[in-house]
């Protein structure tokens, strides 16, 4: 009983490692190493410079990270969802911006083409997206429609040969580096539909948002669609109804719930090692009750998040995952990671405000993660509706 807990890493207090299969572990390890070598040495500078490292895209493709949980017949890795979650965790241990790139490409671009596209669309686009030869973005949010996407103003008008799209999308990850955009718009009958829009189509333009103090190593853009005409075969035949757009969000939120764990682990491990070394008043700050309490709170949040993510993965692999369960995981894990990052920043003192350490960068990024893919509040309302049966969104 009195023995020390035999954990492999300080952040794996409940030995979640033991639950993983060989494939899950190998998949995680290969991406972990990639992040250690290709992301962590440079991320502080990229973040400060507001630079998304496009040079990593083909490497992520070669590694098989993009759309890794989609089937092998479309050039994807065909991993199970726990392995996929672990990849997101490792990417976000590096930076939320790098994970966001992979989430958008995999869950918001490849997934809708896989789930709602024609066989021709799948065969044409998925292998290229998986290799990173093509980059995609996902345009749902608009300047005046965020939490309430049903309020969207982008329109799709049917013509003899195809569709004409008009409107503005806002806060679009990968916007200006994308070759294609999955755009959601209302047709004349009022039905929301999804389209594949090549970004070199006349009338399409993307404008980067440069004033971010969060998610700086990620491209976020405004998309303007001015009478953009696309042929019929670029409409996603199965993407009819707003629910289909929300179906993509469920996939992305799943990955985010795992990703948040990675950011939290990075902050916790950094704070723990700093607290052991940093001496104040003649003893390591780790030997003070207040710092210990902070570290214990962080570890508790991480452990809870790991178990939530793991169980959600089991449910997803069993085909039994409900979107409200995803809401709980996204809401909890991201907020927990944000709190861990803030607490880690405090432990690090002044050093914690620099990009030499990771906590502040993660904390700033996680403000975005807490907002996008359904804000914390919106998930509260989704869960509230689920358990009480009452809608409290307050639609006027």
């Amino acid at each position: 009983m009195a023995q020390q807990v035999a954990y492999r890493a300080p952040s794996d207090f409940y030995a979640v490692e033991d639950l993983l299969t060989d494939v899950q572990r190998s998949a995680r390890d290969t991406v972990r190493r990639f992040v250690d070598r290709e992301v962590l040495p440079h991320i502080g500078r990229w973040w400060l410079e507001g630079h998304f490292p496009t040079e990593l895209v083909p490497k992520l493709g070669e590694l098989g990270v993009l759309g890794a949980n989609l089937p092998e017949e479309y050039g994807c890795a065909g991993l199970d969802n726990i392995a996929y979650g672990l990849l997101m965790q490792e990417l976000e241990r590096g930076d939320s911006g790098i994970r966001s790139f992979a989430s958008v490409q995999g869950a918001l671009v490849m997934y809708p083409i896989y789930a709602y596209g024609s066989e021709d669309q799948r065969r044409h686009y998925l292998p290229k997206l998986a290799r990173g030869e093509l980059v995609g973005c996902f345009g749902l949010t608009e300047p005046t429609a965020g939490s309430d996407p049903a309020a969207m103003n982008t329109r799709a008008r049917k013509t003899a040969r195809g569709w004409v799209l008009s409107g503005t999308k806002m806060w679009i990850t990968n916007g200006s580096i994308a070759h294609l955009a999955i755009v959601w718009a209302r047709d004349e009958a009022g039905t929301v539909r999804g389209f594949i829009v090549p970004t070199d189509t006349p009338g399409f333009s993307a404008h980067d948002i440069h004033t971010k103090v969060s998610m700086r190593a990620s491209v976020t853009s405004e998309l303007v669609l001015d009478e953009v005409e696309i042929p019929d075969d670029l409409a996603l035949p199965g993407a009819v109804g707003l629910g289909k757009a929300l179906g993509c969000l469920t996939q992305a939120r799943y990955g985010i719930a795992w990703g948040a764990v990675g950011a939290a682990v990075a902050c916790f491990e950094e704070a723990l090692s700093y607290a052991r070394d940093r001496v104040a008043f003649g003893r390591p700050i780790a030997a003070t009750q207040i710092v210990q309490e902070r570290l214990v709170d962080m570890l508790t949040k991480i452990t809870t998040s790991q178990l939530v993510a793991y169980r959600l993965g089991q449910l997803k692999d069993a085909g039994r995952m409900h979107y409200a369960q995803v809401s709980l995981a996204k809401r909890h894990n991201v907020r927990a990671a944000l709190e861990v990052a803030r607490e880690a920043r405090q432990v690090l003192g002044a050093y914690g405000i620099t990009t030499e350490y990771h906590a502040m960068r993660h904390a700033a990024n996680l403000e975005s993660v807490d907002t996008y893919e359904g804000t914390y509040d919106i998930h509260t309302l989704i869960l509230g509706r689920e358990i009480t049966g009452h809608e409290a969104f307050g639609r006027a």
Binding site: A6, D22, V23, S26, F34, L63, A68, G78, L79
Partner: protein
């Protein structure tokens, strides 16, 4: 070119290694086992030879059942086939015993080239590659930093004190590789999935026609007597000089008198 790579599974040294209380070995609970780093470079080099000259890459590992995971890593990097050898009689075998087993495996398959890591990071022995060449009766070079394959001969470079040694070695030959030889690729995720489906044959000593009394623990000429944890590092000494000059003088004095390196 048919290349055989001999690999070992070792504990991940990025984690703390604990010695068992009775000194009989290391505490394996909670350890991560990985493909020896040097062997990763050997696998990478084999894959590059295959890319340039065609042929096959087969990886071989002697070790307990968990060692198949190291073979899967090599398969995920791109090796064609994997052979695993285990037999309870091999528990406690020494390096020469393992080398003899490997020699028997290699002898039974086409091999134009045999690659090993220069050492395994668990015991740093650097014995198996050289002994394997002896048992196979093949030419060898250790710790090579460059490999070029010609017609029936390989040109290899070894980094030696003050220069580079260039050797021409007739093939087939056994080489152990230095980590500077290449930068190993990452096992890709599709590679990991493919590796999972590959069959790994496990051979026993009987399958190889070997006598446990000759290669197993019973034949071991080297036995581990005891394991001790490394001595605790003593706390450093902090000096607070009045001036940079005094600081330099104190450090020079320390290097001369205490560390005796100047």
């Amino acid at each position: 070119m048919d290349v055989v790579v001999c690999v070992k599974q070792v504990p991940d040294t990025e984690q703390p290694i604990r010695v068992r209380a009775d000194g009989s070995g290391i505490d394996e609970q909670g350890l991560n086992w990985i493909l020896n780093y040097y062997d990763e470079h050997a696998v990478e080099e084999a894959l590059r030879v295959r890319e340039r000259h065609g042929g096959t890459v087969t990886v071989v590992c002697v070790g307990p059942p968990r060692a198949t995971e190291a073979l899967r890593t090599a398969l995920a990097m791109g090796a064609d086939e994997a052979v695993h050898v285990w037999d309870p009689a091999l528990e406690g075998a020494d390096h020469l015993g393992v080398s003899r087993v490997l020699a028997e495996v290699v002898r039974r398959m086409p091999h134009d080239l045999v690659l090993c890591g220069r050492l395994a990071t668990d015991d740093n022995a650097s014995v198996v590659g050289a002994a394997l060449a002896e048992y196979l009766g093949l030419a060898q070079a250790t710790a090579i930093a460059k490999l070029e394959i010609g017609d029936g001969v390989a040109t290899v470079e070894r980094e030696v004190e003050g220069g580079v040694e260039v050797l021409r070695v007739p093939l087939p030959a056994v080489f152990t590789v230095e980590r500077t030889i290449n930068e190993p690729r990452y096992p890709t995720l599709p590679g990991i999935m493919k590796a999972k489906r590959k069959e790994i044959r496990t051979l026993s000593l009987q399958d190889l026609g070997l006598d446990p009394a000759q290669v197993g623990a019973a034949a071991a000429r080297v036995r581990y007597a005891r394991f001790d944890p490394p001595p605790r590092r003593e706390a450093g000494r902090v000096v607070t000089p009045e001036s940079p000059e005094e600081g330099a003088r104190l450090i020079a004095q320390f290097l001369q008198d205490t560390a005796k390196v100047l």
